[in-house]
């Protein structure tokens, strides 16, 4: 559905997107992750046909976005960051305008508009002027606009930014329901969102793709170097830590005290799970144990790892 080859965008001396390659298959939901200024929005703008690239190509449904821009744009529903809308229009009026502009034939207009109004929960505000709508509703109008012409590909640039938790859940459910009919490319700051929605993740930093995989695989890749939490009441924490360090599969041990309890954060050697050894050892020493666990690696850690700890 989407095929990007060596796509590059330079703004003067500054390279915003640096020779990126990726493909998206039909029916996938792909998440774009990256710190601010990583090149997410620039890439999306190029795919949507708004910005021409400095070099490289991008194809959407077999149409080149630059040489065959009009046909490529017919396949795209794009929702820009911050959702710019014509605020002087009424919701239904705006959608009608956008639908006919995007080539929805006159006889289908009414159906399409009532479909997207229902899908995005906009029936109540159908007759309202857009400037009077709250941020959450505007976001949904933007989404309705993006899909009013039934595009094959939806490009959503931070669809949930600036919404309250309830609205985020609504938009997220909406996107999840769209999965059946559309291929979706979504950029976001919110990691749990990616884990919930996306079948694949592209992590982009400083204009380059740092990682491209399923969320599970990304976590698994880091999970090998995970750590184990061991919470027990030991006579002497320092001695216990020294003894734990000698066990197989243990690299380093950090101690934190919680009253009589000591919490050990044990870094494991890659490929080892030392929990059983630690359990045996604790039984041997007859230490009362409160917790022995291996917290799952979150995508947040993966992200921090591949972007060298840059803030999201």
């Amino acid at each position: 559905m989407v095929k990007v080859e060596k796509l590059t965008k330079k703004f003067g001396a500054n390279t915003a997107v640096d020779s990126i390659n990726f493909e998206v298959q039909k029916g996938e939901i792909v998440g774009f992750l990256g710190p601010n200024g990583a090149g997410k929005s620039t890439t999306m703008k190029m795919l949507a046909g708004f910005l021409p690239p400095t070099s490289g190509t991008a194809e959407i449904a077999g149409c080149d976005v630059f040489t065959d821009s009009l046909r490529a744009r017919e396949h795209i529903g794009y929702m820009p960051e911050n959702v710019p809308l014509y605020t002087d229009m009424r919701v239904s009026e705006f959608l009608r305008y956008r639908a006919s502009l995007k080539g929805v034939p006159g006889r289908r207009l009414r159906d399409r508009i009532s479909d997207v109004l229902e899908l995005c929960g906009l029936e109540d505000v159908e007759k309202k002027i857009i400037s009077r709508l709250s941020k959450g509703y505007r976001q949904r109008v933007g989404l309705a606009d993006a899909m009013v012409h039934e595009p094959d590909l939806l490009i959503l640039d931070e669809p949930t930014i600036g919404l309250d938790p309830n609205q985020i859940r609504l938009v997220r459910d909406l996107i999840r329901n769209l999965r059946r009919h559309h291929t979706i490319l979504i950029s976001t700051h919110i990691l749990p969102e990616v884990e919930m929605l996306c079948s694949r993740v592209i992590i982009i930093n400083k204009g380059r793709i740092e990682a491209l995989d399923t969320p599970q695989n990304l976590r698994a890749r880091l999970g090998q170097e995970g750590h184990v939490l061991f919470d027990a009441r030991v006579p002497d924490a320092r001695v216990a830590a020294a003894e734990l360090r000698k066990l197989e599969g243990v690299q380093t041990v950090n101690i934190r005290n919680d009253g009589p309890w000591s919490i050990f954060k044990i870094q494991c050697t890659p490929g080892h799970d030392p929990r059983e050894t630690i359990y045996q050892f604790a039984v041997e020493k007859s230490w009362p144990v409160r917790e022995l666990s291996r917290p799952p690696v979150s995508l947040e850690q993966v992200f921090a790892e591949v972007t060298n700890g840059e803030e999201l």
Binding site: K45, A48, G49, F50, L51, P52, L70, R71, R73, E74, I76, Y78, P80, N82, P84, L85, Y86, T87, D88, M89, Y97, R98, S100, L101, K102, G103, D145
Partner: protein, 251 residues
């Protein structure tokens, strides 16, 4: 053609959704109404030998609202969309850049025509009340209104170009006002030059709106201004299209 018409309708709607349109319309009517009154008064006092149509189109009170109105009709067209970011939404729909530029231009021109349309009523009123002819012949109306439209075409395109150059409506208005005034005053040079033998006088006559209006409101349709206005409008629109593309590609 279909998409052009959809875009054009949107332009017209966005103009008339804004209160400023009605403010402009109101003051424009006040000034042109006053202009009509001044023209009639002049003829009543016997200080002129022209027809009412000629008197209306050749006073100072005519040129003042005429020149002042273009920044208002055009400053929004591109500047507002760039500033609000809606240009991104517009240009990712399957529309050609040229369709957008032409539709925005046509929208601004339409507003200009709406502003001038009521002036026809003045002459109708005059004829009904006095029973006299406002013009010597129909050619007077045809000439005056066709040059009015052609001058509007050129000045509207200049305004559109100014609006495409910037994100700020005020800056756009200032650029277009400065450019339109410069063009107008250059045309005035033909009045202060020696009457014969000056090449400069010949050249400035070629684009002097005042001279054109004097001729056309008498019903003399000269093809030279027609060629001038239409060709320079096309040139400025072409420049507008390129500025519009360039600014997007650079951003």
């Amino acid at each position: 053609m279909g998409r052009f018409f959809i875009l054009f309708r949107r332009e017209v709607a966005s103009t008339f959704h804004q209160p400023i349109a009605y403010v402009v319309l109101f003051f424009f009517l006040v000034i042109t109404g006053f202009n009509f009154h001044a023209g009639i008064t002049m003829l009543n006092n016997g200080r002129g030998t022209t027809t009412v149509v000629e008197a209306f189109f050749n006073t100072m009170y005519f040129w003042f609202p005429f020149l002042l109105v273009f920044p208002f009709t055009t400053m929004r067209v591109f500047a507002e969309e760039s500033k609000m970011g809606t240009i991104e939404m517009l240009m990712t729909a399957p529309v050609r850049d040229s369709q957008v530029v032409l539709a925005k231009y046509a929208g601004a021109l339409f507003f200009y025509l709406v502003l001038w349309a009521p002036s026809l009523l003045y002459f109708v009123t005059f004829q009904t009340i006095t029973g006299m002819n406002a013009a010597g012949a129909a050619g007077s109306y045809i000439g005056a209104y066709s040059i009015l439209i052609m001058m509007g075409m050129l000045y509207t395109s200049i305004g559109c170009l100014a609006s495409a150059l910037t994100d700020n409506q005020i800056v756009a208005a200032m650029i277009s006002f400065a450019a339109i005034l410069a063009l107008f005053f250059l045309g005035l040079l033909s009045f202060i030059m020696p009457a014969t033998g000056s090449i400069l006088r010949e050249v400035t006559y070629y684009f002097s709106p005042i001279e054109h209006m004097v001729d056309f409101s008498r019903g003399i349709v000269d093809t030279r201004p027609v060629v001038f206005y239409i060709s320079s409008t096309l040139l400025v629109l072409f420049a507008t299209l390129h500025v519009f593309q360039y600014r997007r590609w650079k951003s």
